[in-house]
C-alpha cells in the first residue's frame, strides 16, 4: 500500500459551501452534476414513456379516437425527441460524468465549470422544448423534421421553432461536454493508467466524445438554416423557392447516424464493465473491443444515406452506402462474440445488472441483425417506414441502450448512493421489462411486413392488424408498470436500502477503490495502476494481470 499515488490534478476551484437547492444549482462537482444529469434524464424518461403510452393507447384498436391526429403527431414527435436527446444521451452522459473521473483516478473533470454549463444547457433545452406545449403547441413534424413539412408553409405554428431552439441548446451543451470528456480522459489519468489500460467504459466515452465533436455541428448548422428558412424565408430547404428538400435529409442523417452510435457506444462500455465483473474474469479480447469501437466511430460517418434509400438516389450511391452500412456489422459482431466469450469459463453471478447485460446480448443482436436487412438496400425499399423499422430501432435503442442503462444503473447505484438496490424487486423489474419489451416490439416486425406504415394515428381493420397492435399495446403498458416499479425501488433503496460498502461487486476498476459515495475529493489515495484491473492486482499481487500476460 506504500505506493499509493496522488489523485490526478484538477484545477482547484473554490466554491463557497451552500446548502439545499442552491448547492445543487451552483455545484461544479462532477459527482453532483452527474447525479443532476441522471435525475433529469429519469424525469424525461417518464414523460417520454407517457407519450409512448398515449401512442399505444390510440393504436390499441383500428379507428380509435382517443386523441386527435394532431395530438398523436405531437406525441410521436416529442416521444422520439425526448427519448433521444433528453433521456438516452443525458443518462449516459450522467454515468460518464459521475464515473469517468473516478475510473481514471482524477479529482474532477478537466473543466468543472464547463461541465456545469453543459448540464444546465441540456436542461434548459429540454425546458424550451416542453414549453412549446403551452406556447401554441409542440412540433408535430416528427423528430426528423423533414423539409418542406417542417417549413413555415406546412408547419405554421411555433412548435418547430421551439424544437429547433431546444435542440440547439442541447447540441451546444453536449458539444461542450464532449470536449470536456476528451480533455479529461487524455490529460487527467492517474500515473500508470495508460491508454491501453483504460477501463472500456472510459474508452467508449472517449470514442464517443470524438463522435459528438464531429456529429453535433452538423445538426446545429442544419437547425440554424431551418430557423433562417422559417423566419427569413431563406428557402435553403424549400423547393418552392429553389431550395432542396433532400439537402435537409443529408444534413440530418449525417448527424443522425453517428447519433445512433452516440447512444449505443457508452452502453457498450457499460456492458464491457458489467459482464467481466459478474463473470469473475477479465474482458475477452480487450484490444478488439476497444479497436472495434474506433472502427464503428469511423464507419458511422460513411453510412448516413442508408436512411435515404427510398429517396431515389442513384444506383451507385445506393450500392456504396449499402455496402458501407453492412460493414458496420463486422466490428459490432466482434463485440458480441467477445462479450459472450467473456462469460466462457466464468463463475457468472446473475445479479440484476448481469441479467440486463445478458438480455442485452440477445435483444441487441436481434436489433443488429434486423439492421442488416436495411443495409441491403433493395430490402430497405420494402421495409423502411413500416413498423418493421420501429421494431428494429427499438431493439437497438431499448434492447440495446436502455438495457445497458439499466445494467449500469444497478451496477453503479451503490457507488453513487452508498446503498444497494433491492435484488428481489430488481429481478421482478427485469422480467417485467424483458417480457413487456418483447411483447411490445417483436410483433411490430410482423406488423411492418404486413404493411403497416409508421406514424399513422390509426389504421384500417386489415386481417391481423388489430390483434398485433393490441398485443403491442398490452406489452407497452407492462413496460410502463416496470418503469414505475423501478422508480419506486430507487426511492425505497435511498431510504431503506442495504448499505453497499466500497466495493459490493468485488469489481476491479478504480471507482470501487474509494468510499460509496466517494468524498468530494474522490480519493485520499489512488491505488497503483500497473494493469487494466488495479484492484485485482492489489488483491492478487502474485498473479497480477501484467505478470500473467508476460509469462
Amino acid at each position: 500500500m506504500s505506493e499509493m499515488v496522488e489523485a490526478g490534478v484538477a484545477p482547484a476551484i473554490v466554491v463557497p459551501e451552500r446548502e439545499g437547492l442552491l448547492r445543487w444549482i451552483t455545484s461544479v462537482d462532477h459527482k453532483e452534476i452527474g447525479i443532476l444529469y441522471i435525475i433529469s434524464a429519469m424525469a424525461f424518461f417518464l414523460i417520454g414513456g407517457l407519450e409512448a403510452l398515449v401512442i399505444r393507447l390510440q393504436l390499441l384498436a383500428p379507428n380509435f379516437h382517443i386523441v386527435s391526429p394532431e395530438t398523436f403527431d405531437q406525441m410521436f414527435t416529442m416521444h422520439g425527441t425526448t427519448m433521444i436527446f433528453l433521456f438516452v444521451m443525458p443518462m449516459l452522459t450522467g454515468f460518464s460524468t459521475y464515473v469517468v473521473p473516478l475510473m481514471i483516478g482524477a479529482r474532477d473533470m478537466a473543466f468543472p465549470r464547463l461541465n456545469a454549463m453543459s448540464f444546465w444547457l441540456q436542461l434548459f433545452g429540454g425546458i424550451i422544448l416542453y414549453f412549446s406545449f403551452v406556447a401554441g403547441g409542440a412540433s408535430s413534424a416528427g423528430w426528423f423534421a423533414y423539409t418542406p413539412l417542417s417549413e413555415k408553409a406546412y408547419s405554421s405554428l411555433p412548435g418547430v421553432d421551439f424544437w429547433i431552439l431546444g435542440l440547439a441548446c442541447i447540441g451546444i451543451g453536449t458539444l461542450a461536454g464532449a470536449i470536456n470528456f476528451a480533455v479529461t480522459i487524455i490529460c487527467l489519468r492517474v500515473e500508470g493508467l495508460t491508454i491501453r489500460r483504460l477501463p472500456l467504459f472510459v474508452w467508449m466515452t472517449l470514442v464517443n466524445s470524438f463522435l459528438m465533436i464531429f456529429a453535433l455541428p452538423l445538426i446545429n448548422a442544419a437547425l440554424a438554416m431551418l430557423l433562417i428558412d422559417r423566419f427569413f424565408n431563406a428557402h435553403v430547404f424549400d423547393p418552392a423557392g429553389g431550395g432542396s428538400a433532400i439537402l435537409w435529409q443529408h444534413y440530418f442523417w449525417s448527424f443522425g447516424h453517428p447519433e445512433v452510435y452516440i447512444m449505443i457506444l457508452p452502453a457498450f462500455g457499460i456492458i464491457s464493465e458489467v459482464i467481466p465483473v459478474f463473470s469473475r474474469k477479465p474482458i475477452y479480447g480487450y484490444e478488439f473491443v476497444a479497436a472495434s469501437s474506433v472502427a464503428i466511430a469511423f464507419l458511422s460517418f460513411t453510412v448516413w444515406a442508408h436512411h435515404m434509400f427510398a429517396v431515389g438516389m442513384s444506383h451507385v450511391a445506393n450500392l456504396a452506402f449499402g455496402i458501407a452500412s453492412m460493414t458496420i456489422a463486422v466490428p459490432t459482431g466482434i463485440k458480441i462474440f467477445n462479450w459472450t466469450a467473456t462469460m466462457y469459463g466464468g463463475r457468472i453471478r446473475f445479479t440484476t445488472a448481469m441479467m440486463f447485460a445478458t438480455a442485452f446480448l440477445i435483444t441487441f443482436t436481434i436489433g443488429g441483425l434486423s439492421g442488416i436487412s436495411f443495409a441491403i438496400f433493395p430490402l430497405d425499399w420494402q421495409l423502411t417506414d413500416t413498423y418493421y423499422l420501429v421494431a428494429h430501432f427499438h431493439y437497438v435503442l431499448f434492447g440495446g441502450s436502455v438495457f445497458g442503462i439499466f445494467a449500469g444503473f444497478y451496477y453503479w447505484f451503490p457507488k453513487i448512493s452508498g446503498r444497494l438496490l433491492s435484488e428481489r424487486v430488481g429481478k421482478w423489474q427485469f422480467w417485467l421489462t424483458f417480457i413487456g419489451f418483447n411483447l411490445t416490439f417483436f410483433v411490430q416486425h410482423i406488423l411492418g411486413l404486413a404493411g403497416m406504415p409508421r406514424r399513422v394515428f390509426t389504421y384500417p381493420d386489415l386481417p391481423g392488424w388489430h390483434a398485433m397492435n393490441a398485443i403491442s399495446s398490452i406489452g407497452a403498458f407492462m413496460l410502463g408498470f416496470a418503469v414505475l416499479l423501478f422508480v419506486w425501488m430507487i426511492f425505497e433503496a435511498l431510504s431503506n436500502g442495504e448499505i453497499a460498502g466500497d466495493n459490493p461487486w468485488e469489481a476491479w476498476t478504480l471507482e470501487w477503490a474509494t468510499t460509496s459515495p466517494p468524498p468530494p475529493e474522490n480519493f485520499e489515495r489512488v491505488p497503483p495502476v500497473h494493469g487494466r484491473r488495479p484492484l485485482w492486482d492489489l488483491a492478487h499481487p502474485e498473479r497480477a494481470d501484467e505478470l500473467v500476460a508476460r509469462s
Binding site: P69, E70, A240, L319, T365, L369, L379, D545
Partner: protein, 311 residues
C-alpha cells in the same frame, strides 16, 4: 400469405425483393440462433455454483478474433452479390427515350394520377393492364410523400423538386393495397390508394368510360346537386368534365362514382358515407383540405345524388 404483402409478390420486381427477403431472413436467423445458443450455453454451464473454483483468467485468443472477423465479412460479401442482382431486377434501368405511362403526383393527402397516353385523370385508384411493366413518373405537389404498393414493387419517395421513376407491374388481375409511407403531415394515415389490375379488355373499357364526358343529371335532386356544386364553390378546387369545374387542387370528380373509396380510403364510396363526408369532412378526416360547408341535410343529399351519378 396475402396477409404479408411483401411475401406475396405479383410482379417480377416485387418477386425479386421477396426472394431476397426470404434468403436473407434464413441467414440472419441462423446467426441469431448461434448467438442465442452460445449465450444460453454460457448462462447454464457457467452459472456460479457454491464451491465452484475461481474462474480461470483468460484474456483472449487472436486466432479466434480473426475467425469471427473474417466469417462475417464473407457472409456480407455474399449479401452484396445478392443485393446487386436484386437491385437490377427490382429497379430496372429506364431505357433512354422511354416515356412514362403514368404521372402520379402526391398531394396532402391524396394521389393524382395522369395517364400520359390516353389523358385519363384519376385519383387514389390506379387501374393498370395485367402483365405490362408500368413506368411511373412520381412527383409531389407539396411535401415529401412515398408511393408504396408492396405486392407490385419497391417503395419510393415523391419529393418536391426531385421527380423519381418507378416500375410497377401485376401478373394477375386483382386489387392491391397501396399507401403513403413517408410522414407527410396530419392526415398521412389516410393517404392510402389501391391498384386495380385488369385484363386488357377490361382496362380498355375502363379507360373509355373515364374518357367519356359524364352524362348531365336528369333527376331533379341531381340537377339541384349540380347547381349546388357550382354555388357552394366546390368548383374552386375540383374538376368535372363537361362542366365549368376545371380546378386541380382537389381530386378530379368526373367519374367519382366509379371509385370504391373516398378521402384517401378514410371512407367507403357509398351514398351514406359520401353524405357523411360532405356534411362532416372534419370528422372523417380532420384537418384535411376539404372544408366543412355546413350543408343542410337536403343540400348534402342533392350533392350525393349528383356525384353518385358521375359514373
Amino acid at each position: 400469405m396475402d396477409r404479408i404483402p411483401v411475401l406475396a409478390p405479383v410482379s417480377p420486381q416485387a418477386h425479386a425483393l421477396s426472394a431476397l427477403l426470404i434468403a436473407v431472413f434464413f441467414v440472419l436467423l441462423a446467426i441469431f440462433l448461434l448467438v442465442t445458443g452460445l449465450v444460453t450455453f454460457m448462462i447454464i454451464r457457467y452459472r456460479d455454483r457454491p464451491g465452484a473454483p475461481e474462474a480461470r483468467q483468460i484474456f483472449g485468443w487472436n486466432t479466434l478474433e480473426v475467425i469471427w472477423t473474417l466469417i462475417p465479412i464473407g457472409i456480407l460479401a455474399i449479401f452484396s452479390v445478392f443485393m446487386i442482382s436484386a437491385d437490377r431486377a427490382a429497379d430496372p434501368l429506364v431505357p433512354p427515350g422511354r416515356i412514362p405511362d403514368l404521372q402520379v403526383v402526391g398531394h396532402q393527402w391524396w394521389w393524382e394520377i395522369n395517364y400520359r397516353a390516353s389523358g385519363v385523370v384519376a385519383a387514389n385508384e390506379i387501374h393498370i393492364p395485367v402483365g405490362k411493366p408500368i413506368l411511373i413518373d412520381l412527383r409531389s405537389a407539396d411535401v415529401v410523400h412515398d408511393f408504396w404498393a408492396p405486392r407490385l414493387g419497391r417503395k419510393i419517395d415523391a419529393v418536391p423538386g426531385h421527380p423519381n421513376m418507378l416500375w410497377i407491374e401485376a401478373d394477375q388481375p386483382g386489387t392491391y393495397m397501396g399507401e403513403c409511407a413517408e410522414f407527410c403531415g396530419v392526415e398521412h394515415t389516410w393517404m392510402r390508394f389501391r391498384v386495380i389490375a385488369q385484363n386488357r379488355g377490361d382496362f380498355d373499357a375502363w379507360q373509355r368510360t373515364q374518357l367519356a364526358t359524364p352524362l348531365s343529371p336528369t333527376a331533379p335532386d341531381a340537377i339541384a346537386g349540380a347547381k349546388l356544386f357550382t354555388d357552394k364553390t366546390c368548383v374552386n378546387c375540383h374538376a368535372i368534365a363537361g362542366t365549368v369545374a376545371n380546378q386541380t387542387v382537389g381530386p378530379d370528380l368526373s367519374h367519382i362514382a366509379s371509385r370504391v373509396m373516398l378521402a384517401g380510403e378514410a371512407a367507403q364510396n357509398t351514398p351514406d358515407e359520401l353524405f357523411r363526408w360532405l356534411k362532416q369532412p372534419d370528422v372523417i378526416k380532420p384537418q384535411s383540405h376539404m372544408p366543412n360547408f355546413k350543408l343542410t341535410d337536403d343540400e348534402a343529399r342533392e350533392l350525393v345524388a349528383y356525384l353518385e351519378g358521375l359514373k
